[in-house]
Symmetry: C2
Subunit: 525 residues, 2 copies
């Protein structure tokens, strides 16, 4: 049995402690000029000053409702750095009045009817892993707030082995749905970093990016059909492998972040479990040359599953390896046929740009991949222990076309270091590619800085604003796969047209005429 942390990432039992913590802190200390890091601990949620709920559930819905303080506090924030710091400090002001856990679609209809009738704001809640304020009741008005926790709708309802597709409920967490598919030899093969603590519905509502670099990785592309409960009724698309009949129903709800409806279930395209693998790490002398190698690979049609370029600082912090120009983790996999020839060709391309293979034995390859994978899944836990030690730890993820990549990298780097200089704090910027496309990379930047506990949020805001502005100025997107939520609104508002916002607003007025669903994300009412 595990217990979800009310204030930070994941399970209490898995937090970073002991030797893991000491090693992490000593590694970090190396680039923080040995700034002293003082640890802070989270209060007991029962000691928080949480206002009593302003509403109580109607009798017929009472069995779905929770008003426990720990539950409400646990649903107040997502898992952004800002959320963790506020929780550690006991600043929990946006607790929902109620948490409701529907057991089926009828329950959701009943909850939405009640909320529309009573002008109660509804925040759809999947795994609660939002790092963009997507599940936070950050409102100016005085409406009561209900957090609609989908955790009980967690089943694979139907499986079509012939077409390799399954009908899955929106509240299923990654491991829950994969466990139900495993017996059939199938997998959704969608592994975002939040995998353990995020749901299918959340992935769909935020257009989640999977772990893999190319090809089948985005949740968008795995959708065969989608069923959505809106405040005015249910809408569902037909199960189809492809269709050119009008604009896509599903693409309207993908990325709608809980503003248009509750995604109760979806038919998802599955894959056979991979049997053939080939992988390698490649070192580079120059990071920009490494980027060119990745560009060439991305345009070759080889479509590697992994094509994760780590800059030297990222490779050092998260994979413990040193390289002047960064490390490229390359991997191919298939359920049907060997991948060695593809790897051979990709390495040939790497050599054209000065890449040298650093691991050769199958054992070393596996060890390297395992190091990365375990590091990848530990990162959010590490973020928490660093945050608790007054550090500012933040990520920025974006995408840009290849022609703009060198300038964007320089600009983000300059903006981040200038922002830290403004604050007179020591820190580093790291970069890796999480995904690559033939027309550009999806760079993912990390900030690790020695903050001052009392000013950490202001410092975080300053860095976040500076880097976000440089992303937008240099032709990036404010988010590639973390969603917009409330925190990315300033950047998002700059990158999309007012006419498109007006169009989304018009759809919302149609499907959610009382405006009860997650107001404030994506656009103002």
């Amino acid at each position: 049995m595990t217990t979800r942390s009310w204030w930070g990432w994941g399970n209490v039992e898995h937090r970073v402690v002991g030797a893991e913590r000491d090693k992490l802190l000593s590694r970090v200390a190396q680039f923080l000029d040995n700034t002293e890091l003082v640890e802070h601990t989270a209060p007991n949620p029962h000691d928080l000053k949480i206002e009593p709920p302003r509403i109580s559930p109607p009798p017929l819905l009472r069995h779905l409702a929770s008003t426990s303080v720990a539950d409400r506090a646990g649903h107040a924030h997502g898992k952004a750095y800002r959320d963790v710091i506020r929780n550690l400090r006991g600043h929990v002001k946006s607790s929902p009045d109620l948490v409701m856990r529907p057991e089926n679609e009828s329950d959701i209809v009943a909850v939405l009817d009640w909320c529309a009738d009573r002008s109660i704001t509804v925040i759809p809640y999947g795994g609660g892993s939002s790092v963009v304020g997507g599940v936070e009741a950050r409102f100016d008005d005085n409406r009561p707030v209900l957090s609609l926790d989908m955790e009980r709708l967690n089943r694979v309802i139907e499986l079509d082995r012939t077409s390799r597709a399954a009908r899955i409920q929106g509240g299923a967490l990654g491991p829950e749905l994969e466990n139900q598919l495993r017996d059939h030899g199938l997998t959704l093969r969608h592994f975002p970093q939040s995998f353990e603590f995020s749901t299918l519905g959340g992935w769909l509502a935020t257009r989640a990016g999977g772990h893999y670099a190319m090809g089948g990785t985005h949740i968008d592309d795995f959708v065969e059909s989608m069923r959505v409960v809106t405040p005015v009724g249910v809408t569902e698309s037909r199960r189809l492998p492809g269709s050119g009949a009008g604009p896509s129903h599903d693409r309207m709800f993908l990325g709608s972040e809980g503003t248009l409806g509750i995604i109760t279930e979806a038919w998802m395209r599955l894959q056979d479990r991979p049997q053939f693998r080939a992988g390698c790490s490649v070192g580079f002398a120059d990071f920009m040359e490494a980027g060119q190698a990745v560009r060439a690979i991305s345009q070759s049609g080889l479509n590697p599953s992994n094509c994760r370029l780590l800059d030297p600082m990222e490779a050092f912090i998260n994979a413990g390896s040193t390289s002047a120009g960064g490390v490229l983790v390359l991997g191919f996999e298939s359920a049907d046929h060997p991948q060695d020839e593809k790897l051979r060709r990709a390495l040939e391309i790497c050599r054209d740009f000065g890449g040298t293979t650093t691991h050769d034995s199958a054992q070393e390859q596996t060890a390297s991949a395992d190091t990365w994978k375990s590091s990848f899944l530990r990162m959010p836990y590490q973020r928490d222990v660093l945050a608790a030690h007054s550090m500012i730890v933040e990520t920025f993820e974006t995408a840009c076309t290849w022609d703009r990549w060198p300038a964007l990298y320089q600009a983000v780097s300059a903006a981040a270091y200038q922002a830290m200089a403004d604050l007179k704090i020591t820190g580093v910027l790291t970069c890796r590619f999480t995904h690559v496309y033939p027309d550009g990379p999806a760079p993912y930047f990390g900030i690790y800085a020695a903050g001052h506990w009392d000013e950490a949020l202001g410092q975080w805001d300053h860095i976040k604003a500076a880097v976000s502005a440089s992303l937008i100025t240099h032709s990036g997107t404010i988010t590639h796969h973390h969603a917009v939520g409330r925190d990315h609104r300033p950047g998002y508002d700059l990158q999309r047209t007012d006419l498109f916002a007006d169009s989304l607003r018009a759809v919302k007025s149609t499907l959610d005429p009382k405006g009860i669903l997650n107001p404030g994300v994506l656009f103002d009412a």
Copy 2:
């Protein structure tokens, strides 16, 4: 120099005549019990009774306008069977009052302003190849109609070699844009059957499917950003290889069929020209087993460029080959690396389902591919000569998941033959897969029947209604890549929810408040 046919497909100079016609007619006669086929010819457009235009262009737009009878008659219909028959008979009732050919975006803004002000209906017109009534002024009201012909916006404006992308104007026909890309060694590699006579803007507005079976073939997936002029202003998305910032702007306009705005330009993802090819034809003893082979290939990750399964009748009519269970045309191509190993593995899969390779030499492979390609591009011309000989020639294209494919095939076949029996006419149904997906095929059905000239349209309607109903009943889509237009509305209305139609209507009210853009396609105002 070539001359576009006012009444039928393509160029006058390329119509089917002489030996090609005789061969086609004699091949067709074999399954039509030698029904006598009488040829009909199209009238001179100047002899048509075309009403004088109800509007005249304002002085500042006069240089863009045409009121010539041939021009107006040529813009009255698309290129559906029904259109061809009506043209041949001289029944041209929906000529637009004006044809306008803007030279730039400002012209479009000026035209839309004028039309909104004067309540003139605007039909966006690309290559005019719609087979679904998408460009026809089929209205109950008495509003004047303007056909907005985009042919002068036909340039590749900007090219980014690094990211392999180009900014292309919406009015560029397939050959026009490919010619401009060829010098750079790049290609959009989007080859719908209408390639020569359809435009980028038309492809985007109708979610066109390309010639290739899998992977990069749909125009949707090649869009990096899109610029749209609506009656209330211009909206444009940021050039990005990927983004999770809210619902996709571009996917809202993809498939909007001219109802939301005019697609003036788009940044499109390009590809290097292929250098490596491997291909083969495979014969099968049983068509359903052949389908299983295709399913296995579609789920293997091999992603063939061609994976065109022809049923025996399709193979006979369009490729001149005989096979008890149909022929699978398989092909792989790459700009980067050899494809022979992929072909070898695909053939291994085919053999598991009883497939036998019918062509072995490279020469024969090329000959077979060439036969198919030339036949493919000639099909619409052949349709015209058959229609002029009183035949009913129609296509139905759909998609369904693999689990439903056998039942759908049986149902469509039964519905088509029953409809022909109802009419007491002789004919055949053919089937091929135009595209395949891991979760299902996109079957394309053809009807070749001996119609009665005086009743051809009623007969066509009867067959079309019967087959369309069976597509919807058996879990298909009313269109996989021909669009909805006006002709597919009954089926489309059944397959999408009212809530989604309401949502689209809300977007239209926002972007086109006077409702001037292409009313009647997709949904009623």
